[in-house]
Symmetry: C2
Subunit: 228 residues, 2 copies
């Protein structure tokens, strides 16, 4: 039997990197997919390329979709990224860094590539514990997407295979993710998480993403190699 293939969404951050490492550890031949969608932290694509190579992805595709044509998010429009929010602030409501329908778009593209590759497995590093409150990171969204995916595709119609959306991190804390990553031998110094990097790609340290990352390392009792 040939090695099963999986499409793995990869932003280059802590979560998607750990997710790719898990897919690899489960024996999948991985096709990493990143997006150049007009994000202000476009520098993350350099991390994605490093990670894809280090973790042995068979191919890494960066798909360009200019979501700045729609705007409406601090990541894709001229809107400031919120800084210094407390855990309590993060646990209420949907922040302005939410990019409308981003995971629907990313997963749909992954679905298209999966169908061409004959892959029935798609990995996405969404997390519904230490996260920013995005609606498209919740388990109910993922289940509805999977159901749709199996009606959208030729593979699903022919009943030859079943598309599965894997979300190995969905119930993990950020500290769990850091620990799992290290167990799998991932060099987290390759990753990049900040939404609003400064000159030279320096993490701002104060956006939700930086705060959640720091919380993960602190709770795991490990130093973030990015600060080394």
């Amino acid at each position: 039997m040939s090695t099963p293939r999986a499409v793995c969404l990869l932003s280059g951050g802590l979560d998607s990197t750990t997710c790719l490492a898990i897919a690899r550890s489960e024996g999948f031949e991985c096709y990493a997919l990143s997006f150049d969608y007009g994000q202000r932290h476009r520098i993350e694509l350099e991390a994605a390329a490093r990670v894809a190579q280090a973790l042995g992805a068979v191919r890494h595709v960066v798909l360009k979709i200019d979501l700045r044509q729609f705007g409406g998010s601090a990541l894709t429009d001229d809107i400031n990224v919120p800084k210094g929010r407390s855990a309590s602030e993060m646990s209420h409501g949907i922040p302005i860094t939410y990019v409308p329908a981003r995971n629907s778009i990313f997963l749909s593209c992954a679905l298209g590539w999966a169908e061409v590759l004959g892959a029935q497995d798609i990995f996405i590093g969404v997390n519904a514990i230490d996260y920013s409150g995005y609606p498209d990171c919740r388990p109910e969204f993922i289940e509805a997407f999977e159901r749709m995916a199996n009606l959208a595709t030729a593979a699903g119609v022919k009943g030859r295979m079943r598309i599965r959306i894997h979300t190995p991190l969905i119930r993990m804390t950020k500290a769990d993710i850091v620990r799992r990553s290290l167990e799998l031998g991932v060099d987290l110094g390759l990753t990049f998480s900040c939404y609003d990097p400064g000159p030279g790609g320096r993490p701002c340290g104060r956006c939700d993403s930086c705060i959640l990352r720091r919380k993960g390392f602190e709770e795991a009792g490990i130093a973030d190699p990015l600060n080394a």
Copy 2:
């Protein structure tokens, strides 16, 4: 009350043009969305621009996504477009012009734009009668997408509004579509349907899309203005 907004997917062909005309006739302020996805019949985008203007779309966005990076379809890869297929051949199986997950990708992007615009209505000109057998044109796919869409978005989470995917053509024959379009005063000479145009953008006359278009005009007893 302000005029409700709708995002209307627009390829520039007969179906999506009629669909846009129906959305306009129902009183929506229409935001037309087309895709430059590496299709061999990229010339359809010129038709989309003409149609968007003629039908009074408030805005027309052409989003570029290079699906040639995935390939796997006669429309996005170096695969010949089938010619001269009979109705019986077209009614069996999924043809090689199927672009994996295309409508999932297009609708997800429409969803993102709708959310930014505060629109809860999305129009897509899919048809499950005189069509090419694409899985993502079937009513069960559209229903599953709509359900997913309402879990994917901030609007759905807040319960403030409900995303609706409108498919006014889904049960119409191609002749019905031609007739409806003319009732609405649409100049079908602006549209373009061929998958594999020749030099100067001349329709090939023999691909599934040309064959279905001809069938529609013939059964409606009307001359296609494109042949005038």
